[in-house]
Symmetry: none
Subunit: 214 residues, 4 copies
Amino acid sequence: MEARHRVRAAALELFAERGFHGTGIRDLAQRAGLSTATLYHYMGTKEELLAEIMRSSMDLLLQAATRVGVQGAAVDRVTRLVHVHVLAHAARPLHTRVVDDELRALSPPLRVEIIGLRDRYERLWQAAITDGVADGVFHLRASDVARRALLEMCSGVARWYRPDGPLSVEQMAARYTELALNLLGVAGPVPDLDTAIARDAHRLVAELWPEDAA
Amino acid sequence: MEARHRVRAAALELFAERGFHGTGIRDLAQRAGLSTATLYHYMGTKEELLAEIMRSSMDLLLQAATRVGVQGAAVDRVTRLVHVHVLAHAARPLHTRVVDDELRALSPPLRVEIIGLRDRYERLWQAAITDGVADGVFHLRASDVARRALLEMCSGVARWYRPDGPLSVEQMAARYTELALNLLGVAGPVPDLDTAIARDAHRLVAELWPEDAA
Amino acid sequence: MEARHRVRAAALELFAERGFHGTGIRDLAQRAGLSTATLYHYMGTKEELLAEIMRSSMDLLLQAATRVGVQGAAVDRVTRLVHVHVLAHAARPLHTRVVDDELRALSPPLRVEIIGLRDRYERLWQAAITDGVADGVFHLRASDVARRALLEMCSGVARWYRPDGPLSVEQMAARYTELALNLLGVAGPVPDLDTAIARDAHRLVAELWPEDAA
Amino acid sequence: MEARHRVRAAALELFAERGFHGTGIRDLAQRAGLSTATLYHYMGTKEELLAEIMRSSMDLLLQAATRVGVQGAAVDRVTRLVHVHVLAHAARPLHTRVVDDELRALSPPLRVEIIGLRDRYERLWQAAITDGVADGVFHLRASDVARRALLEMCSGVARWYRPDGPLSVEQMAARYTELALNLLGVAGPVPDLDTAIARDAHRLVAELWPEDAA
DNA sequence: CATGAATGAGTCTTCATTCAT
DNA sequence: GATGAATGAAGACTCATTCAT
């Protein structure tokens, strides 16, 4: 309950900050304000703890993307996918960094599971891109390269965005969307983005992903 | 001589594969074919070993970028910077992954040093982008966001590119350059890239960065 | 509780017997009847363990000396200081040998602390000697040389005294007091010492310094 | 030859400063300006190196004491023994500290040998004291206690004497002799010491024990 | 519910020493 | 005569985990 949550929060922070192998259970216990023995009341092994964090994060991202990225015109879908992805990475950087960076720390069975979720997520992006190319609105030579490029560039946000910087998360999402649509070769200048999209995406992230989720 | 190099090579592989904290001294010794005590005949501390790898990698990247990214029109500079970056990341993925992922494993003094090199590298990109915007050939709202997006997307190559896949490294570089120029808002369709650029960049990387560099 | 004390006792014995650097963690664990890992449940670092022993020993000696060596005539003060010192060194030879011999094993900050205690202790002796010279009862050319000579000679007891030898600790203290007063140039033959002094000093040492103190 | 001497000198300094167990062969090599492998051209094991230093030091001390402490009146013998001992400890503090402090670092066979030398040395003192008591010039209740007290107090010099302090080594020796004769209960005030004794003792130490002996 | 106690296996690093060249 | 290479054993200390209470 209370303590269980503190353990997750501690793990989230430390795994994001120092990496899985750079974090000891003593560190976790101290950050959570518990003894190491008590820690084991609220968790399985250290690796399971990591897997839970990654699973729930990837799950939420997948849900959000499913809601916004399946229906509609390719441009709209990509726009909303970028918004959700960027907002999630800017607003929940700890979760996303752990998912992005610590896959290799998982042993094969758990790694396979998380990679499965990630692949489903990437397939939503791939479909939107492929559809856009088929529709003639995106102009690309290699759509899978574009997908990877797009995802990598948007994920970077979690590594450097600071909420007290010059850009709000919504502005960030808007900038990245412009870059993404440019990258995809959408003809003509990208029009000003409807701020309603950012608002919706933000609400979605906040709803699925409570600030103190761990 | 011989053994010293094997140690570096082992560290390069393992740090890239499992991360610094995920790699034990015993792992290094085994991979290098030495006893752990002998290992210390050829290295300082494990951290110094990491720092050496990062320093030399970042150094080479910086040299290459300085040669191709300082003079000429902004479009040409970005084109060549992307080529060098992508080729380096595709052809030397171990080095680049270590530099990209293990900064946090360094203690402050060494981290500061390596970050200094990285910052000088990024400034070359930033200058090219800013110049392109000033010249009216790039169309962007936030050039620093674009720089980060560009670098992140290009660096991703080191994580997924396989030389036995459908694309050659030169083709990869070409595709990424198209995406980059699109992203930067270069007007009109990107023309077919001069393959001489790829050839030059490849030669530069290979020259500065011998295949077995460690 | 129990084990914690065994660790201290083991350290006391081994540090006194083999010196700090001559004692390994494994030796300590074996002597305490614990595994090396368990050892660390009850101690900080090996150096902190040494410092604790030295601190408590020096502290007790300082307390005892403060009680008997501040008030009264110089001859009486020196008499009681010698008694306390000799009794402590004869009855607690492990503690005193560690304090006397292992100062150099401490890193600077801890060393400074312990030396501070020792200096306060020596100042009590110095004051008694200086007062005796001023009163004309001691006849000396260099009182600081006398202080050092006195302390060194009395400390030697911890290195050779055996309780199963021909002299009791009280007799030892009496002999050393005679030597000390002679050394200080007290005129005339030293009279037979009041055995009450030895009894009091012995009681003081035993009270402050329980036999199994560690 | 040259290098062999540097090794001995390095060992002398470091063993005195940090103790045998606190000194590594790497430290020795560095101080001697040699590689560790080269070190072994000029020495046997680390322990043998220690034993050599102790043996030669104890030997020289024994020779000196034999020359001055066997013949003559007890008062004169003690006077000269104290002079030699104090001068040796003040002028060759490294040697004497190693002999005094590192006996326990020797394994039994070597320890037995060195202790044999020390015992012969102490027997010279004991004889002088006993003779003085028999002659009625010393007044003591326990002559062996006095011997130990005397030796301990005089040996302390090696731990604190600094040649740039207020007292010359000859003055030191004079002060200690006064204290020693007082301690031994020599009746009446100790007369001013003949400075020729100090000069002779100093010459003897210097002659037997060249400054750079190692 | 919570934790102090306990540990085998591991961490990185240094030890004193040998030996081929 | 001198040393780079090499190492098994040991150095101090931490690891993630279990369990009795």
